[in-house]
């Protein structure tokens, strides 16, 4: 028998982040796979029990440093439910705009990492260049490029600067042209298509049972997006579509993310037009009442949620963080079995793993 366990170890160019993968191969075909995580475990849930509610906002940023605004948002949403505080309308529109910009930059970072995984090294710098334009806008707005500390309970920290709308529209117009370039470089490239099509299939019923959410679920033909099915903020006042693909392979997941980038640009343009004038921060109490709160939202990678238990003190009693990557990674053996060992970077890259939120 030629079966053996191979360790695609913690140091490997395809592991963006730090995790281990043990595959059992028979010749070149994969017959079993075991991902191992925990190298970046920082004890966020335990630290949350000795920090005040506001002191946890910068820590929630660092859960996934590549898409930090969405983690701040979901934490602020859960605490606002607990306190019974609502945001003014202008703050809701600003939140939607920065969340969608965060989604675009997260997908661009995924694209910059996925291209080299497949073999197209030019993609790295092209996608990072576009991401830099968006990060410049976020730096002018919040002061930092990646871990923003921008949202507060009841609104946002400061209003948009005076040329924000003009800068954003210019960046989005430039991005529209460039996404056409990326699609030309990848979608019309026979080598990319041969590497990516038909690889890593995940059926719809498997995806739902294994708890997969986000672009991995929508790439398998299931039209679920929390922004439409359980609308939060002002998403139900804007006009946009869910992007779904039927095939369930890595190419479908790639197409879903490219289409989502265009749709996010559409949402940002509408929100900029509709944004009213007004206050940006409502007053929130210093400590929330006793009780529990559960809030979930559609992160760039899937469904993320916070469950907070409070006993009336100024620190939380228990904070549980549900990360979409944690569950998507547990479903990855199902996608890998039956493929060749050279397909492992293609499949694992199409899940878009960020270890910060997986290991907490």
């Amino acid at each position: 028998m030629t079966e053996m366990w191979v360790n695609m170890g913690p140091q490997h160019p395809m592991t963006h982040g730090l995790w281990n993968l043990r595959v059992k191969i028979d010749g070149e075909t994969i017959i079993d796979a075991v991902p191992e995580i925990g190298y970046l475990h920082r004890g966020m849930e335990k630290i949350a029990e000795i920090r005040t509610y506001e002191q946890f906002i910068p820590l929630a940023d660092r859960l996934c440093y590549g898409a930090s605004m969405s983690w701040e948002y979901i934490y602020c949403l859960a605490v606002e439910k607990l306190m019974g505080v609502e945001c003014p309308e202008r703050a809701e529109y600003i939140r939607v705009i920065v969340l969608e910009m965060q989604r675009i930059s997260s997908h661009l970072m995924w694209l910059a990492a996925y291209g080299p995984d497949v073999g197209n090294l030019t993609m790295l710098l092209y996608a990072m260049r576009e991401r830099e334009i968006l990060l410049d806008i976020m730096q002018k707005l919040t002061g930092t490029r990646m871990t923003y500390n921008y949202l507060r309970f009841g609104g946002v920290r400061n209003d948009v600067y005076d040329t924000f709308e003009r800068d954003t529209l210019k960046a989005l117009d430039w991005m529209d042209k460039k996404i056409l370039d990326y699609e030309g470089m990848l979608d019309e490239n026979k080598i990319f298509l041969m590497r990516v099509q038909g690889v890593g299939r995940l059926s719809a019923s498997d995806a739902i049972n294994l708890g997969v959410t986000g672009p991995c679920l929508r790439g398998s033909g299931v039209a679920i997006d929390l922004r439409k099915h359980q609308p939060y903020s002002v998403y139900n006042e804007l006009d946009w579509e869910i992007m779904v693909e039927k095939e369930g392979d890595s190419y479908a997941r790639y197409r879903v993310r490219m289409n989502e980038m265009r749709e996010s640009a559409n949402i940002i343009r509408q929100a900029l037009k509709k944004m009213p004038a007004g206050p940006i921060l409502n007053k929130a109490p210093k400590r929330p009442p006793k009780g529990t709160a559960f809030a979930r939202s559609e992160d760039a990678r899937g469904e993320s949620s916070f469950y907070i238990v409070s006993d009336g003190k100024n620190v939380p009693y228990r904070v549980k963080i549900r990360s979409p990557n944690f569950v998507n990674m547990s479903a990855s053996p199902k996608m890998m079995i039956g493929n060749k060992i050279a397909d492992v970077p293609v499949i694992m890259g199409s899940i878009d793993i960020c270890m910060g939120e997986t290991d907490k």
Binding site: E45, N209, T213, G221, F294, S305, V327, M329, A331
Partner: protein
């Protein structure tokens, strides 16, 4: 392509069928539109989850966690129904000296790693789990960090404060 446009069962019908099947379920109410909450005994968790998955259309488990209330643990399950457009929260109490529950990973495959994390952090056993071992901490670690009895600086095996004092005390 699977789309979920309108709810198949209304939330009141869901509440009625749960009440008919499990008469002694506690605190079953609707705190906000589209959300159910209930408290169930430890022995009934698996039967309730099987019923909700097979007949009430809760195809997706969002979260599975535990809370340490010092005298007892409380398991919290967050379920979601795509076709009925609602979510449900199921809570159950578990005593601390006999901390074990039946696994639900054969109903929802997505609960597998959540249960491993609950075991890793609290020490709660899951009967019938196919592969119950630690996931975030090293395999040979003996502490259960999220229990309230585990205080951060004193009984951690990574007690950096005392080590610094010894090294730099001259």
């Amino acid at each position: 392509m699977l789309t979920f446009e309108r709810p198949v069962m209304e939330i009141q019908a869901i509440v009625q069928s749960i009440k008919q099947r499990f008469e002694d379920i506690g605190e079953l109410d609707i705190p906000e539109p589209g959300r159910l909450e209930m408290v169930v005994a430890r022995e009934d968790i698996k039967a309730l989850c099987r019923f909700m998955h097979d007949e009430l259309g809760f195809e997706h488990i969002t979260d599975l966690t535990a809370v340490d209330h010092r005298t007892k643990y409380e398991m919290v399950y967050q379920l979601c129904s795509y076709r009925n457009h609602c979510t449900a929260e199921v809570r159950a109490e578990v005593p601390t000296d006999d901390a074990s529950v039946d696994t639900v990973s054969d109903i929802w495959g997505g609960a597998n790693w959540h249960e491993r994390e609950a075991y890793d952090m609290f020490g709660i056993g899951f009967n019938g789990h196919p592969d119950l071992r630690r996931i975030l901490l090293p395999e040979d670690e003996t502490i259960f960090p999220l229990r309230k009895s585990f205080k951060l600086k004193k009984d951690s095996t990574w007690n950096l404060a005392d080590k610094d004092k010894e090294e730099g005390s001259e």
